[in-house]
């Protein structure tokens, strides 16, 4: 964990993880009638949330830490791309995509001497 965040990890969990996430559930509880699922603000926030997730995913693949960083960048990128291609090719199957990505990563990592 970062030296910049000297708060207790459990305090961080509650303040930075639990509360910012839970607020939306509580708002949903309070708003009896609620928003239209197609309202503009909901659409915008859905796009922002998807993009955040995409950014984190790319960060973990391109700039990983720990044992994954030991694999060459090319192996990580080719594995992720193969998994995505398998997902598209095999009936949009999540399982097929993840399995192919993992197999390519392990074979690639092995061949590159890990």
């Amino acid at each position: 964990m970062s030296a910049a965040t000297q708060l207790s990890p459990y305090l961080m969990l509650v303040l930075l993880g639990f509360l910012p996430n839970e607020i939306w559930r509580l708002l949903g509880l309070i708003m009896a009638r609620g928003l239209n699922e197609k309202s503009e603000i909901v659409l915008w926030s859905r796009a922002v949330a998807t993009a955040i997730l995409a950014g984190v995913i790319a960060k973990l693949i391109l700039f990983p830490s720990g044992e994954l960083a030991a694999m060459p960048l090319s192996v990580r990128v080719i594995a992720a791309a193969s998994g995505f291609a398998a997902f598209l090719a095999i009936r949009r199957s999540l399982l097929a995509g993840v399995a192919i990505a993992e197999i390519v990563l392990i074979v690639g990592g092995f061949l590159s001497g890990h």
Binding site: M1, W24, R25, A47
Partner: protein
């Protein structure tokens, strides 16, 4: 499985637990949490911190963002904002779920548990199974379903954590790869509308670009920039159509 002719809240609760274990989401959920467990280990969080984050946050993307943001030395404010932006999608889910659960005259506090339990997996399964069920048993069913999912998720989080601690480098790397790959593909699978697909593609490009140029608060800016461009394109196309 067919909805039960549940005779009591207890049997509705147990049916909920059984529905969780036999749900198609179990595989996705276990894979996701094995990956998050490995990631938490990699970033030196304790296994109990991870388990508590599963129970308290109960949203894979938010947990992933929190672990990554704190683990890579992001600022606390950025972590909170990025987590909160990812949590917005829970709002319309709660709004659409609760009317299925409420009984006339039942106090709002009965809705606190299902409100907290609302997540993609529980929401999809509830909307599928609740309408066929008697209203007085729905709340117990929903709580059983959610607690079932939560037990599975917490358990597999611990499995991933300990596997990451004990596996040789190659396989530990493969375990850490599970999180980005399963989130990448499941996000792509859920992205049916052009808006979502564009946000995914732009986020994948803009995210690493901001990291490369060492822009601070890169996670938050990725969301705001890529999300807003996608939304603008969606609006412009709508206007020209």
């Amino acid at each position: 499985m067919t909805p039960p002719a549940a005779s009591s809240s207890t049997s509705a609760f147990l049916f909920g637990l059984r529905s969780a274990v036999s749900s198609v989401f179990i595989l996705v959920l276990s894979g996701t949490y094995v990956g998050l467990g490995a990631l938490a280990h990699d970033f030196h969080f304790s296994q109990w911190w991870l388990a508590l984050s599963t129970v308290l946050i109960w949203a894979g993307p938010a947990q992933l963002i929190l672990i990554t943001a704190l683990g890579t030395g992001g600022s606390p404010v950025e972590a909170a904002i990025a987590v909160s932006l990812s949590g917005i999608r829970l709002f319309p889910m709660v709004v659409t779920l609760l009317p299925l659960l409420r009984k006339k005259g039942s106090p709002l506090r009965n809705m606190l548990l299902p409100t907290h339990f609302t997540s993609v997996s529980m929401w999809v399964e509830s909307l599928r199974l609740l309408p066929a069920m008697a209203r007085e048993h729905r709340l117990a069913f929903c709580n059983g379903l959610s607690i079932g999912f939560m037990i599975v998720a917490s358990t597999f989080g611990l499995v991933g954590y300990y596997l990451a601690a004990g596996l040789p480098t190659l396989f530990a790397g493969a375990l850490l790869f599970l999180t980005p790959v399963s989130f990448l593909i499941s996000t792509a699978r859920n992205a049916v509308a052009m808006l979502d697909r564009l946000a995914l593609a732009l986020g994948l490009i803009i995210g690493p670009a901001l990291v490369y140029f060492q822009v601070s608060l890169d996670i938050m800016w990725t969301g705001i920039i890529a999300g807003t461009i996608s939304y603008a394109v969606h609006r412009l196309r709508g206007a020209s159509a």
